[in-house]
């Protein structure tokens, strides 16, 4: 029987948005693993981390509270699952903050009442990788591999917000291993001791402070090349975009010759599970993941 979850896809996953290819691969992956994602009806933006300037505490909490309340109403009893690191973080932070502070909880409900909603705040808020690790398990994930990703060396770039401040149960903040295990389970080879695996790509500051952020991104890519990587894989939409799309700019500035594809863990899984390139979101790559394309076309 399918495992059902209340799904919070987030702004970047929408049609024509920057991580729409992430959603495509997640859907293919979930299809194979018999995971049913029930989208939270009429969900809204979580304001990510950069919403603080205009938002302030209560308006930001109200945003995520609306999503949780909608989930309680329409997908009762189901764990809320997000694929975007920032969505997961903001929603989980809201849940914690409101649990700890009755005054804020009361005010949040006062705001929610304007939209005809009420928050109980009882659901679990989870990231998709938690679902994979805890509810599916590595063994089951491995059982569905039809085309092992033989001969591809991959740097597992976990980044920040899937890892801190909450992280994944049983993993350390400084050296989480789960992404390497995902890579291995799909038949590829993880870069060992990838020292930039939890370094920051600049996040939203890639937009406002491009030079400072691109210096960080350069180090992340350089370390992947140093480890012999053919590609980089990440669980975060912001990490994916920042590390993929600025490579030309970095090359122009630093005289490097970067041209390394950056995909999601779900892209790997979808290809390994026998889905074609389109179903795996490979057409969403700006730097083509040639090795994955070859396997997907087989």
């Amino acid at each position: 029987m399918a495992k059902e979850y209340s799904f919070y896809p987030g702004c970047s996953s929408q049609e024509g948005a920057s991580s729409s290819n992430y959603l495509t691969s997640v859907q293919s992956m979930c299809d194979v693993l018999d995971i049913k994602l029930n989208v939270i009806p009429d969900w809204n933006c979580c304001s990510a981390s950069i919403g603080y300037c205009g938002g302030g505490e209560l308006p930001r909490l109200a945003l995520s509270a609306r999503n949780i309340a909608l989930s309680e109403e329409h997908n009762a009893g189901q764990d809320i699952v997000a694929t975007c690191a920032a969505c997961w973080l903001a929603t989980k932070e809201t849940q914690e903050r409101l649990e700890d502070d009755e005054g804020l909880m009361a005010e949040t409900n006062e705001a929610l009442a304007e939209a005809g909603l009420k928050l109980k705040n009882e659901n679990k808020i989870r990231h998709m990788v938690e679902v994979l690790i805890e509810d599916i398990g590595y063994e089951e994930m491995g059982k569905h591999v039809k085309k092992p990703l033989d001969g591809i060396k991959i740097a597992g770039y976990v980044g920040c917000q899937t890892n801190r401040p909450f992280g994944i149960e049983g993993e350390s903040f400084e050296n989480p291993k789960y992404l390497d295990k995902f890579i291995e389970t799909m038949g590829a080879e993880p870069v060992e001791n990838y020292d930039k695996k939890v370094s920051c790509c600049g996040g939203a500051l890639a937009f406002s402070e491009p030079d400072k952020s691109q210096a960080l991104i350069k180090d992340i890519i350089e370390a992947a090349y140093d480890g012999g990587a053919d590609m980089i894989v990440t669980p975060c939409p912001v990490c994916q975009m920042n590390v993929e799309v600025y490579q030309d700019k970095i090359n122009a500035k630093y005289g490097t010759k970067f041209n390394i594809p950056v995909t999601y863990y779900s892209t790997l899984m979808s290809v390994a599970y026998g889905k074609n390139g389109k179903e795996s979101g490979l057409n969403g790559q700006i730097i083509k993941a040639t090795k994955l394309e070859e396997i997907a076309a087989k």
């Binding site: 024509g16 729409s20 302030g56 705001a111 304007e114 937009f207 799309v245 057409n283």
Partner: protein
Amino acid sequence: MSDLNTSMVEKYRNNFLKEVEAHVEEGEWVKMCMQCGVCSGSCPLGPHWEHPPQELFMMIRAGKREEVLSSESMWMCTSCYNCIVRCPRELPITHIMHGLAHYATRLGIEPKGQPTRQFAQLFWDNLAKNGRVNELWLGVNLYFMNGLVEGIKVAMGMAGIGLGMLKAGRLSLKELVGGHTVKDKKGFKAMIKKAQELEAARVDK
């Protein structure tokens, strides 16, 4: 200087720590800082902070109100959460930095031209309009935030990336008019308005 800023100066006189504790998100944690500096050493943009977090915490206790609130420092926060997980005293440093930046903005004494300050406000205004982020307009507004001439220069520099995203189906011109939105826009906006009113009432108290 805004009226709110003037009234806060009068209300708290020389006790800036008390002001931060009362009005800055997670501000009650500031006094717990033991000045070890792990936060500053852990920050990916550490070298770019004029006053790194532990210094800001000491400045708050020393009553350096003007210097702290008008500083560009906390606008360097990338929200990587390194400082939070490494702080031996478990201060929610990321949130305090966001809180200081927001409070300075509320008082109208933040560094106005600071690029992250501008982008953060654009992001909020963008999502508050339709309940969901419109990435196309966010990009356009970002490139042109420093005026038309500068904007054309920036936009041309970014054209390659934009075209790449378009071709990959990760940017849509459909977003130019309308675009993604929540259905219950009325309820959404009423909720945000109420939350803003409640928060403002708390600061005025």
